[in-house]
Point group: C2
Chain length 123, copies 2
């Protein structure tokens, strides 16, 4: 059973690794057979090679991730609201996201689904 | 395809009906073959009779539901953070919740999953 403290630690590690561009730190959170769907409806990436490629693009950007509310953890699942602030040379964009993680018995993420759409982007 | 406006309308109707104790308004949001899991991990209620019984207990309480962040809608799914303030004669309790709704082609909820645990209850 996933404890609230363990869930919060996973989420806050994820926020920190996204903000620091720590690709290895992000990958360490995932199980080998994990899947990622970001955003929901865009197709599912399966396995660490595909997930590494996805986050490689993410950490190449100048972003900061900021949790904006409590982690809600139930059974072996958790959801949490957060913002991603992305900066380019000429603009700043903020994404309002809620992620859904399912973890295995060892506390590694086996499924990540990110909920957001164009309506959640602020310029 | 579910629009952000349609998703927000469903969520805000749900918040209002919970706060007003409007059982019929809540039931009108659900498809006949809907399922409800509240909290996640507690077992799945299937069909409107079971869902009506569940919300019958909910609306019998003195509660107010308050959305605390943007609805994140993607494909035919949505998630949103909210608080439920519950009052009894001698205490006030606040639950921090994130709900996950899946809707059908007619915009009716076919799956509701509520994410929260004891760690999300404030006395």
């Amino acid at each position: 059973m996933l404890t609230h403290q363990a869930a919060e630690h996973i989420v806050d590690t994820y926020m920190r690794c996204l903000s620091e561009g720590d690709l290895e730190g992000i990958m360490a959170l995932y199980a080998d057979d994990a899947t990622v769907e970001d955003p929901v409806g865009s197709g599912v990436l399966a396995g660490k090679a595909a997930i590494r490629e996805f986050y490689g693009h993410t950490v190449a950007m100048d972003i900061t991730a900021e949790r904006t509310g409590a982690v809600r953890c139930a059974a072996n699942e958790m959801v949490f609201p957060f913002l991603v602030h992305a900066r380019t040379a000429d603009m700043a964009i903020t994404y309002e996201i809620i992620d859904h993680f399912v973890v295995d018995g060892e506390g590694r993420v086996v499924s990540m689904r990110a909920f957001w759409s164009e309506a959640n982007i602020r310029h």
